[in-house]
Symmetry: C2
């Protein structure tokens, strides 16, 4: 076997609409296809570039919905078409990651995969690379390794990872005792004060075979279906098998199907990520990210002509209109050609219920 990092293959599951980012993020144009950081690149492009420091271009796989094929291939010029896995319909994270694992294990037995969401933001790339490299080394010893983020506040928006003992021979890795769901604020404070908990950022590094083995134990039917699809993937029967099987695939998050049972079995390790990470879950998070600690400013994403007077918050513009804002604090304005959202940072989470209301009132064309 070659050294662990040479067996490493990056996987980018690019799914999730990001309802809290409506009307910017739509079913046809989800979060990962937008520049939410003002970097001049989309989150997907940023993710690709970040992973290129770990994997050559021919060792990065993207798993996404059929409808995003064109957009993804346009954005990622160096993506090898054979490493683009298109899903017939969304089936949650287990199907996406396990299918990638199964296809790659078949192509290259012994592969170690790392799964990194297409729509997260990481600020310090070098630190990220160091952490993933350590995770790959630990994974090679027969572990499913997650990267936990050192909490900067007692957030109730993330799940947490409870760490156990240091892993012998690893610089920073520890065993994982368990994963815990998003806590209430009191629990979150206790977690952060204890120093034993990290944010679960949903990054997993593991030998593909080990990940599939765990899935076989917890979800044998799903495992069998995924293997059947993977078996046919690189041959003439791919579409026929997908037509037959895809619709019945069980939707389940990989946290439940693999991470939690594996942790209970003592098979999960964790490398603490000492880098800045954001899941940019709502417009308040984007405003936060843009302001970088400077308050009282208006951040602008997009090419809007803007006149702002005594206004702070964020303007996201995808229209070509002049936007004039007067006397608004912590405002969120999202201006797209067919829909306009105005709210405040405080109410950013309520955008999701608005999207639900749109569904209920027959405005699915705007979702």
């Amino acid at each position: 076997m070659t050294s662990p990092i040479n067996r490493f293959f990056s996987v980018i599951p690019a799914g999730g609409i990001g309802s809290r980012l409506w009307p910017l993020s739509r079913a046809s144009q989800p979060k990962f296809l937008h520049d939410l950081t003002g970097s001049g690149q989309t989150l997907l492009e940023d993710t690709w570039d970040r992973l290129r420091g770990l994997s050559s271009a021919d060792r990065i796989m993207v798993v996404t919905g059929n409808v995003h094929e064109t957009a993804v291939m346009q954005q990622l010029e160096d993506l090898d078409p054979k490493n683009l896995v298109l899903e017939k319909s969304p089936k949650d994270s287990t199907a996406a990651i396990a299918l990638a694992a199964a296809i790659l294990e078949k192509r290259e037995p012994g592969v170690i995969i790392g799964s990194f969401a297409a729509d997260h933001v990481i600020v310090e790339t070098a630190a990220f690379h160091r952490v993933v490299r350590e995770a790959v080394e630990v994974a090679a010893t027969g572990k499913i390794v997650t990267i936990g983020i050192e909490p900067t506040e007692p957030s109730v928006g993330f799940g947490y990872i409870k760490m156990g003992e240091p892993i012998e021979g690893a610089p920073t890795a520890k065993s994982v005792l368990k994963f815990v769901e998003k806590p209430n604020i009191e629990k979150a404070k206790r977690y952060v004060e204890s120093g034993n908990y990290l944010w679960n950022a949903g990054m997993f590094i593991a030998p593909a075979a080990l990940l599939l083995e765990q899935l076989a134990k917890s979800e044998p039917e799903l495992h069998a279906a995924i293997l059947e699809i993977a078996e046919a993937w690189d041959g003439p029967q791919r579409n026929a098998v997908i037509e037959k099987i895809w619709g019945n695939l069980k939707k389940v998050a990989i946290d439940y199907s693999v991470a939690e049972p594996a942790a209970a079995a003592g098979l999960v390790a964790c490398v603490p990520g000492n880098f800045t990470w954001h899941d940019v879950g709502d417009f308040a998070a984007i405003a936060e990210l843009q302001s970088q600690g400077r308050s009282g400013n208006l951040a602008v994403l997009g090419d809007a002509k803007v006149l702002a007077d005594h206004t702070s918050g964020i303007l996201v513009s995808e229209s070509n209109r002049l936007v004039a804002l007067i006397g608004l604090q912590d405002i969120i304005v999202v201006d797209t050609p067919d829909a306009l959202l105005v709210t405040t940072k405080e109410h950013a989470q309520r955008v999701k219920s608005l999207v639900d209301a749109l569904k209920a009132t027959g405005h699915s064309d705007l979702l």
Copy 2:
């Protein structure tokens, strides 16, 4: 001479962009061409209909800018084209009203004119008619008569009229001692408490000849120029005279050129207007008008699809977009195809300085 009301002719000066109503109100589409009340008609159409209770359709004259000819003729089907006076360029209220007076006096010596802005809102039409009829009777005795609005609050947004003694034989009219400029809040409170002051709503009823006579005394050059234009108006030399003279017409408000000097000469009377009147000067005023005392609601002008959650204020929509508003109090959102304004009722007056900023930054195409 026939009875005063039979000599009456209504004049509608339709000018003024309404900068505080940008981006709804534009140079090409000023305030009076918009429905700001939700009546289903524009302010100009509402004004016309209101005056039809006093004047037959052939006794209403409109004075407006050249560029609005098509819009005005489309909106006012019954306007006789010979009663449409088009201004080559804006020259303030004296030129507009005096030209109407001079044209009408030439056509019909002894005419009594009443001038009513095209962009004000009056709620109780019958009361308005009673008040104007009294004003016409008083005007026929050789007075310039203004209609003052009984103040409902110590507004600092209007000029005031100081009343003197009742006029003998008139039901409610009083002499006018003087006109005073927009006061500060302390003065405004004193004015309102005294009971001797009315808001100056800029409505004037007077024999055309008397109005012109006053103008001759205060602004002899302007008077002479207006008479020269009026003399040529209904003949073949109209355009030639306009070309020669119009550019040099002095810009002056009729309050300064006629009303104040005439008041000093004891020639002005006032009929108190006991009807609800609004000059709808900014979006806060429109919101106020829409809410009719009900607070906590979102008023909507236009055909927008709206989703509002815990939001109050006003949305004016001239675009076809969905507008979603969450958690905003006393908000003002004005959504037009090429410009978006978001502000609050508190800051509604600042829209004017924003328009000034647009001028300064070379965005005149949006004004």
